[in-house]
Homo-oligomer: 147 residues x 2
Amino acid sequence: MMLSRIERVCREKGLRMTGQRRAVAQVLSEASDHPDVEQVYRRAVDLDPNISIATVYRTVRLFEEVKIIERHDFGDGRARFEETGFKHHHHLIDLKSGNVIEFESEKLEQLKREIARGLGYELVGDRLELYGLPIGSDGAGEETDDQ
Amino acid sequence: MMLSRIERVCREKGLRMTGQRRAVAQVLSEASDHPDVEQVYRRAVDLDPNISIATVYRTVRLFEEVKIIERHDFGDGRARFEETGFKHHHHLIDLKSGNVIEFESEKLEQLKREIARGLGYELVGDRLELYGLPIGSDGAGEETDDQ
DNA sequence: GTAGCTGCAAAGGCTTTGCATGCGA
DNA sequence: TCGCATGCAAAGCCTTTGCAGCTAC
């Protein structure tokens, strides 16, 4: 059986691998969206029916601390998660469908650092989301939702 | 007696001016920081001892809806507010002191629009905060706090 | 006078935590 | 074995809301 990337990193970091952590790891490894805790929980239950939502909360916090996942806040009051990627990126939220589109821009990275430096600061973190409406949309669009 | 800018806008929008709303308006007009609800409440009590925190919550929501203040979320789980300015700007949070520095950048505005457009979206909103450490800091800095 | 505003306290949504039990290394 | 992990339920934090009384217009 093949280990998920997250699970591998867990071993490297010496974290105890329980069935529940394995389940959360797999869910987040496979997710291409940005699930919230509730969604992670529902998907994890399919892999390990014993998991509780409290454990999901504890596990995502743990994974975040060792930097194998990232926490996001898209302004709706709950946290969303994704596996840490190789490349720093940001998100554009499609206000019509709720979909999240990832993008990266070296120009943007430079500009952010430049602005911070200009104010006398070393940039150590940032948060950026764009909210947009699809060009050419008539507003009658379809929504996405989760199982 | 001179009306605050916010109070003037309230009248223009036909909002009923109560003592409590006047107090919140004045607090936000005078604030140069980005107070949270608790801080607005404490300052408003000095102007109108009858105000309750529920009213502060209702009032900032109302003011936000008519666009005379803006709501921000600096990642600490509570909302912060500031009077709407003439110019769109963003914030850099000094991680050493907690201070919030405002900045604007036309270059950045252009780049954001350009990125959104490139993804097929019309930019209708955004959120951007930079988190930084003062250059040349030894880490032994002073903190700010509020009355 | 009346619609709208307020205070109070209860409730709501997301998240954390205390405690006794369970389980991985 | 033994300490870390978990489930459950309670609690915490910020925010909203139902309701009865009050007030600006």
